[in-house]
């Protein structure tokens, strides 16, 4: 009896849906979360328990707008005051389930709607389900009085939607004043799309409305492809002492349900039709979730890309500044001239006496050595450049995220600026790099002709020359003109540069040092960008979230066609007896 494969496929889909997460604040996310929760609820509340027992009693959920008279109708149908009607809106807050005592075992077991606590006493807690046994009701059929679908109480609406999703048959109750309301029609359309079997009651029709309103409602049903649904009309009347509608008004409706209850085939057909419709509706819904999940992943990618682009722009600025020799201007160049012009450079290269004399000069005149000055000029230029670049990149990334709905939600003001300790880290980076360059010269320069063996001072001088070479880039040998315009220079300084750049060894060293500097800058910027990436990581977006959802949905669809629930039992609702209408 129970179709093979389908429960397993549904369980897989359920797992996939509950695993799907929509953490980024996209417009589709809130809806997807809601849909996902509703699907999981429907699977737990209805599909899985119903599949387990196809022969369980038919559950009729009485739903509709607030004030439509649902409770009064249920009371009248079972000929007992089981649900309290009232004039205050909304009236019913906790659902009431009425069934024949013979069927109550199944409903009490709690397979169906497992989230609701069973109780036998009237309750106002929306998480309970009050079970009432009504001997007057034919076995095989149960009525569930649901809360309204459109009142101000949010909980009611959610609960009503949950209960409607668990209905084998939805008895939709509306009134002459309400039948054109927008909210219930939205639900009706959803139910039709899902294949739920629907019956309608037009309640509280005043005398003057006559046949006009039912006729109009029938037109509207036709227009909405719901002409198949049986429509019952109840006039606006006073209730009797028991709070029940007069017998003659409800007789037709009761008779119809009696016939449905006693016809096992018809009941089974209703169950299978609704079940099949509900399972069939899962697949498109899951696809929708998959699309929303893919959108999340795409948004996360887009956000990452924006950050990456911003910081890549920063790295490119640094690279360009090195390439076009822009860093070799101003301060650095004049210090270089001093360094070369004072003869420090050559002395440094050639002898140690120079060092001693320079120390003495420095001590006497109080002036720092030109070599050190050059070094610190390089340091301050690079540090400023790095700070500026990191600042621009942070700002660009921030604006990029701000323009993205999901990004704006992840931002915090501090991201717009570089990390507070960036100046320190930039300083350290530059000093580390300079040390690295000296190290490089020491290692590789041992046999080069202008590096006097093991002379630390010579290493320093060569190191500085290498740094200058890095600043001027290896692809570009500064001409006399280029340097001359910067600020008057001495011929010697030019010659030295030309000699340096002409030297293959220095160029190779410079290329290495340059790469080293760029790598360090990349690391620094990557650290900065990581603050952004961390925020995406923190909310957690899967790489391929839609895949499993789609696969599970496809499997459900395959299992559904294999199960062929509706084949062989055609839906044939009992015909209503016409003529008794007023």
């Amino acid at each position: 009896m129970v179709p093979e494969g389908l429960p397993a496929a549904l369980a897989r889909l359920r797992a996939a849906i509950s695993a799907a997460d929509f953490p980024l604040a996209l417009t589709s996310a809130a809806e997807a979360r809601e849909v996902g929760a509703a699907l999981v609820a429907q699977l737990d509340d209805y599909l899985l328990p119903r599949l387990a027992r196809l022969d369980a009693p038919l559950l009729v959920v009485v739903g509709g707008s607030t004030g439509a008279g649902k409770s009064t109708l249920v009371n009248s149908l079972v000929q007992a005051r089981v649900s309290a009607p009232g004039v205050l809106r909304p009236t019913t807050r906790a659902p009431v389930l009425v069934c024949n005592p013979a069927d109550s075992q199944w409903f009490r077991a709690g397979d169906l709607l497992p989230g609701l606590t069973r109780t036998t006493k009237p309750s106002v807690d929306p998480h309970t389900l009050q079970l009432v046994a009504a001997p007057a009701l034919t076995p095989g059929l149960a009525f569930l009085d649901a809360p309204d679908i459109d009142s101000v109480v949010d909980q009611n609406r959610q609960l009503a939607a949950q209960l409607l999703a668990a209905a084998d048959l939805w008895l939709f109750v509306t009134t002459a004043a309400r039948y054109a309301d927008a909210v219930p029609w939205g639900l009706l359309r959803t139910a039709r799309l899902r294949g739920t079997v629907i019956a309608l009651v037009l309640d509280r029709v005043p005398d003057e409305a006559g046949d006009d309103v039912p006729a109009h409602l029938a037109e509207m049903l036709e227009a909405n492809d719901l002409a198949e649904a049986p429509l019952f009309v109840l006039p606006e009347t006073d209730v009797d002492g028991q709070g029940l509608l007069p017998d003659r008004d409800t007789a037709e409706l009761r008779a119809w349900f009696d016939r449905l209850a006693s016809d096992a085939n018809a009941r089974a057909a209703v169950v299978r039709q609704t079940l099949d419709g509900a399972v069939a509706a899962l697949s498109p819904a899951a696809d929708g979730l998959a699309a929303a999940a893919d959108e999340q992943a795409a948004a996360a990618r887009a956000l990452r890309e924006r950050v990456r682009a911003a910081y890549r722009g920063g790295a490119e600025t640094v690279e360009r500044s090195l390439k076009d020799g822009r860093l070799l201007r101003g301060e650095v160049l004049s210090r270089w001239h001093e360094f070369v012009g004072t003869g420090d450079f050559f002395r440094g290269l050639e002898a140690r006496i120079g060092r001693l004399r320079d120390r003495i000069t420095a001590a006497v005149t109080g002036r720092p050595q030109p070599g050190n000055q050059l070094k610190s000029a390089i340091e301050s230029q690079l540090t400023t450049l790095l700070r500026g670049v990191a600042g621009d990149a942070a700002e660009n990334a921030y604006t990029g995220w701000q323009a993205h709905p999901a990004g704006a939600a992840l931002l915090e003001p501090s991201l717009a600026r570089p990390t507070p300790d960036l100046p320190d880290r930039a300083d350290r980076l530059v000093r580390d790099w300079q040390r690295g360059v000296l190290e490089l010269v020491r290692q590789e320069g041992g046999d080069k002709r202008f590096v006097a063996r093991t002379a630390a001072y010579a290493v320093n001088a060569t190191g500085l020359a290498v740094m200058i070479a890095v600043f001027a880039s290896t692809a570009f040998i500064p001409t006399g003109l280029e340097i001359g315009t910067a600020a008057g220079t001495t011929l010697a300084a030019q010659k030295v540069l030309e000699a340096i750049f002409g030297d293959q060894a220095i160029r190779r060293l410079a290329a290495k040092a340059r790469q080293d500097l760029l790598d360090r800058v990349d690391d620094l910027l990557a650290d900065e960008a990581a603050r952004y990436f961390d925020r995406i990581e923190a909310v957690g977006v899967d790489a391929d979230p839609g895949g499993e959802l789609r696969a599970a949905a496809a499997e459900v669809e395959r299992a559904r066609s294999a199960a062929a629930l509706t084949v062989g039992s055609k839906l044939a609702l009992p015909q209503r007896e016409r003529g008794e209408l007023r």
């Binding site: 707008s65 607030t66 004030g67 439509a68 004039v87 205050l88 809106r89 909304p90 459109d150 009142s151 101000v152 109480v153 609406r157 009134t175 002459a176 004043a177 309400r178 039948y179 054109a180 309301d181 927008a182 909210v183 029609w185 509280r204 005043p206 003057e208 409305a209 006559g210 006009d212 309103v213 109009h216 600025t317 640094v318 360009r320 500044s321 822009r326 860093l327 070799l328 201007r329 101003g330 301060e331 650095v332 004049s334 230029q381 690079l382 400023t384 450049l385 790095l386 700070r387 500026g388 670049v389 600042g391 621009d392 700002e395 600026r417 001359g484 315009t485 910067a486 600020a487 008057g488």
Partner: protein, 566 residues
Amino acid sequence: MTQFMGRVREALRGNRRVDPDVLIGRLDAVRSFLDAADGHLPSERLVPAHTLVERAGGRLALSRDHTLVALAGATGSGKSSLFNALAHMHLSPVGVRRPTTGQAFACVWGAADAAGGLLDWVGVLPRNRFARESPLDGDDEAPLRGLVLLDLPDFDSVEAAHRVEVDRLLGLVDLIVWVVDPQKYGDRVVHEAYLREFHRHKDVTVVVLNQADRLSTTDLPKVLGDLRRLLEEDGLGGVPVVATAAVQDAAMVELRRLLERTVAERQAALRRLSGDVDSALARLDDLVGGPAPSDVDKATSRALADALAGVAGVPAVADATERAYRHRAGAATGWPLVKFWRKLRPDPLRRLHLHTPTVVDTGLAPADGDAPVPATTSLPDPSAAQRASLGIALRTVTDKTAGELPEPWRVAVGDAARSRLGDLPDALDKAVAGTELGVERKRAWWRAVGLLQWLLTLVAVAGLGWLVAGYIVRALGLPRFDYPMVGEVPLPTLGLLGGLAAGILLALLVKPFIRWGARRARRRAEARMRESVAEVGRDQVIAPVRAVLRDYTTARDAYAAAGPPG
């Protein structure tokens, strides 16, 4: 209890008369807020306030003797029945089919022409307008004269177009009578989409529970109590709640009284607009924060000037100035015999195309009265680090001045600081080129030393000449003449050697002075250039920022002025 509450409410409401002048003042304040904020803030944030100003202007220009009252409600609540019952005429079609009314109907008590402009403004079709004034009534309807009653379409039916029309009309009317019925009074759409939106319009809101005749006398107070509770949750606690039944004249009396009172007060339009101003201000709330600093602080301007000086190449020019001073001073005071060497070297300032235009007093004012435009300099392009430091300085300006402002204003300040970034290099170049560096003029002491050098050289040459003359005389065997002796040394020799030695000594002696003077010239030039560059910063960066800050302050003051009186 209810009566007591009612009296308290009356007392409170009575006090809240809206003075038209105060209202107009508040509207003007909103307008000046918008004037100040336009162009700085995202325009979509200002749309509601713009709409308000426009709408209020429209309403106040039209008849204030009329009161526009709208009947609004869900489909089937009996708006049209109520409308007809109030008018004592069958004007609006009442139907059992839902939804019924798709267009607004209007009924004017008093001369219909007088309210024509108002109804045109509201947009009620002429064929849907009715006048309620007939001699048959006598004075029965007189208390309602001035009432313009609108019957709106529903807002909860499947017809979405109805809802659009209702939303439009609800924005325009003076007083809204919300019509609910025992079936629908708890509907979500009524409360969440409509009543809650009007919680700032308490004093122009009336809620009517229609079809009260369908409830028993014991149920009616319960339902009314529940309705009041829901209204309280909507933020509408204290609004009048009236039970009516369109089919019974007696049940209409209370609503009629209420309308008569409203019409007589002629306050509804003002109260409505006043509520609108409150709503609009509430939406502008996060655009206003603490006070803005009146100006950019000193340290920040100095940092900006530093960065700009770097970009403008001030240190390079200052360097060149120092060297130019030394060059020129050397040329003027050097030992004349080796001075020509210097002439072979180029003047450092000339190399930058930066020799300041010599001020020549021709006695003729320039034709256009402007200073001559300095030529573009050949200063090197700013280094990458200098550009970066300018970026940092601009960001600091934004952070320091706008740090406490609301986010949209902070963005506006940032944009303003950067607004003339494109013009900056040119302006800086001009500023540097136009600055008098103070090394053109020859110093008096250079001349004096120069003269002395010449004198000394002259002495040396004279000494040499004398010696040579003596030598020639001796060589030719002519009677030699005696050199005057100074001590043991002949005077010409003393003149020659002394002149040469003194010249060299003098050149050496003035060297420290030249160096000192060059450093001074450098400092002075640097200070002057920094002043020019700072001026550029004030013009191109600080002035736009200051303009935004000023606008913010104006907007902030206007916001405070537009706030509810008292």
